[in-house]
């Protein structure tokens, strides 16, 4: 085991996959110079482990600035048997390639009668919470959840990032991975050896009996923080991270709510048709009889994301909002005096 950052874990998974299989290649903007820190061992190119040095220009390649081209060419490359990892930098730029994603990559297997696989991983980072404005800050995974044929992963910790990305490269179906920049610096002990985390298996971060908080991506550490603080108020909160949204670990979610009888979903995407909406609907359909209170969603309001750090940081699900939602579903009053969470 060794301590890795989230970014470092992504780099490690990519290196592992490249070493294990010649067919794995990396393409995208600015990947050769390791501008974003995932195509090398560290932030400096002088560090041992620079991908360009290790794998050469045939396997790691800067592309023209054209996302439609990158996604479409990756699909074509996959048809020849390559297994591309595509680096699309910002999630907000996936939209440039919408036809390739939705009409081509997602539908290819069906349209070709199952004859061609699409083993491509599309990585992108959600630059939210960093004051980068409306054109950089989207968390668009729910849009893609609505597209049959795509798998969606949203790892929230370094160890999950490494294991899930590694499994994603093995997938013969296209996988989109959404990485929250707020998590990039987070660190934990990670197994340096190869391991894979199967898609569709949730992770319970904390067990509890009063309420289930299903948290996604950057909301996961916030939910854990809220749960720890609420424990001091006598509330027992279960924190569950689905880790992958397609496929979704429905059993784990339903089973948890069946035990606790209450559900809060914390999802950094917009409210309307977000992942939280899907999870809420699932529980309403499958665990209605267990519910002792209405489901509460903690999401980002349906507004644009401003540059202003003063406005932006309050828009996303944070520990305060999650704690307030938990108290609401548990029908306990807000604490009168300052708590660990409200002092900020």
């Amino acid at each position: 085991m060794t301590v890795m950052s989230y970014l470092g874990a992504i780099g490690a998974a990519q290196r592992e996959a490249m070493e294990a299989d010649e067919r794995v290649i990396i393409i995208g903007e600015d990947v050769e110079a390791n501008v974003y820190g995932t195509t090398g061992a560290g932030k400096s190119r002088k560090d041992k482990g620079d991908f360009l040095e290790m794998f050469g220009k045939n396997r790691i390649r800067n592309t023209p600035i054209s996302e439609e081209g990158i996604v479409g060419a990756a699909a074509g490359a996959a048809m020849t048997g390559l297994r591309p990892i595509v680096d699309l930098s910002y999630s907000s730029f996936l939209y440039m390639a919408m036809d390739q994603f939705v009409n081509q990559v997602a539908k290819n297997r069906y349209m070709f009668g199952g004859q061609a696989s699409m083993p491509v991983v599309f990585r992108s980072a959600m630059f939210y919470g960093l004051s980068t404005g409306a054109h950089h800050s989207d968390r668009p995974y729910p849009m893609f959840m609505n597209v049959p044929g795509l798998k969606i992963i949203t790892p929230a910790t370094p160890s999950d990032a490494k294991g899930l990305l590694r499994a994603a490269v093995d997938s013969d179906d296209p996988v989109l991975t959404f990485e929250a920049c707020t998590l990039w610096g987070s660190k934990e002990e990670v197994d340096e050896a190869e391991y894979r985390i199967p898609l569709g298996v949730a992770r319970t971060h904390r067990e509890g009996s009063d309420v289930t908080v299903v948290a996604i991506s950057g909301a996961v550490p916030e939910a854990i923080k809220a749960a720890n603080a609420l424990a001091e108020e006598g509330l027992s909160v279960e924190v569950l991270d689905p880790r992958t949204l397609v496929p979704l670990d429905r059993e784990a979610i339903v089973a948890s709510v069946a035990r606790t009888g209450r559900l809060v979903v914390a999802d950094p995407a917009h409210r309307t048709c977000g992942a939280a909406a899907e999870i809420s609907a699932l529980v309403a359909e499958e665990a209605f009889g267990s519910l002792r209170a209405p489901i509460v969603r903690v999401t980002t309001p349906d507004t644009q994301i401003p540059f202003s750090p003063a406005i932006e940081k309050q828009l996303y699900p944070d520990a305060m909002k999650i704690a307030a939602a938990v108290r609401r579903v548990c029908d306990v009053p807000e604490p009168a005096q300052e708590t660990a969470l409200s002092a900020r």
Binding site: R45, P64, A134, P301, Q304, F307
Partner: protein, 369 residues
């Protein structure tokens, strides 16, 4: 040896040069005023970079090295023309009368860009690479419908200029803009600042032929100018704008220049490019060559240069103080401009958000609404 495919009217040494097709349509006083714009623009850039380093701005995209491309083209515009910028066109903004403080408020995160595009003829900054070239084309087609193209009235005929970088030329949007402008003969000038880098990617990852040559494939003229020569840029842009205003359609101008600084303040160019290139381009500095010309051939003296230096100092003070004095925007304002009329759902979300903010005892009183 002069490059025959590159329009140059002022050499890096500050000597005037002739070109068969282009001549600078101004006198030495015009050149003095161009020099003033170059110096002040560079100062805005230097101050903004310093403000970012001091934590007063979130980020800054420096135009260092591209002053002549921006001042030369911006000054060729008429009041009624309209410019569509990327995120780096601070010099063009200056020529359109946009207060540099409103650029700084954007990069400070106070607003999304607060200047009035209609009053200034300068659109809002665009971050998604290439998108504005389509807007420029549509706007130009709107001018055609308004009947302000080819009327022979110099106060009426209007054109559009779209700014973009070398990296952007790989985008579908840009190529589609070329096609649309061409088939509709739209009055738009495509102004590409080829600064030879798209973050870490050198120009050879975007093209195998000189960019200006692409225009012929789309059916309109293309020209490459020395982007560090303010006179050549001015002459070529003026000619292209005039062509557009007369109703003769689009032109692609490739201003051949160099990004002297980092891509933005968060970028570290030592990861991917050699400092030798930078040294080479320093010799072609866009401001120095005008200084040399004015000193050697126009007799501009110490008082002329020190007056501009003082003006730059005063501007710098105004920018520093103005930036530090900017108030944060009101927190609930983010709900205001999603729709013309707020939907019931959004109104409810707004109320929930307000209640959440109220739960902080010491919430920023009054700043909210």
């Amino acid at each position: 040896m002069a490059d025959p495919d590159l329009v140059q009217l002022l050499t890096p040494e500050g000597e005037r040069a002739e070109h068969p097709d282009y001549a600078f349509a101004g006198d030495d006083d015009t050149i003095r005023s161009l020099y003033r714009d170059l110096v002040l623009t560079r100062r805005i850039d230097t101050e903004a970079t310093a403000l970012q380093r001091h934590g007063e701005l979130g980020i800054w995209a420096s135009l260092l090295g591209q002053e002549a491309a921006q001042i030369g083209s911006g000054r060729a515009l008429r009041r009624q023309d309209h410019a569509f910028p990327t995120y780096r066109e601070h010099g063009v903004a200056w020529t359109r009368g946009v207060d540099p403080l409103s650029l700084l408020s954007l990069f400070r995160g106070v607003d999304q860009g607060s200047w009035d595009p209609e009053a200034t003829g300068f659109g809002l900054y665009t971050i998604v690479i290439g998108a504005q070239t389509l807007h420029a084309t549509g706007y130009a087609m709107g001018l055609q419908r308004d009947g302000v193209v080819g009327t022979d009235d110099p106060d009426r005929d209007a054109a559009v200029i779209a700014y973009f970088g070398d990296g952007a030329t790989s985008q579908g949007d840009v190529n589609e803009a070329f096609i649309w402008a061409s088939v509709f003969n739209a009055p738009v000038v495509f102004f590409c600042q080829n600064n030879q880098w798209a973050i870490s990617e050198p120009i050879d990852r975007q093209t195998r032929i000189p960019l200006y040559q692409r225009a012929s494939g789309f059916g309109f003229p293309g020209v490459r100018v020395d982007g560090n020569d303010v006179l050549a840029v001015h002459a070529a842009t003026q000619a292209a704008l005039q062509r557009a205003r007369e109703g003769s359609g689009p032109t692609l101008i490739e201003a051949f220049t160099y990004r002297m600084g980092a891509h933005t303040t968060t970028d570290d160019p030592t990861r991917y490019r050699l400092s030798a290139d930078l040294e080479h381009w320093k010799l072609k500095d866009p401001v120095e060559r005008v200084h040399a010309y004015l000193t050697r051939h126009v007799g501009a003296g110490e008082d002329f240069f020190s007056e501009i230096a003082e003006e730059a100092d005063a501007l710098a003070v105004r920018l520093r103080e103005g930036t530090r004095a900017m108030a944060d925007p009101s927190i609930l304002s983010v709900f205001d401009q999603v729709y013309v009329e707020e939907s019931a759902e959004l109104a409810q979300q707004r109320d929930e958000h307000a209640a959440y903010l109220d739960s902080f005892e010491d919430a920023t009183d009054g700043a909210r609404r």
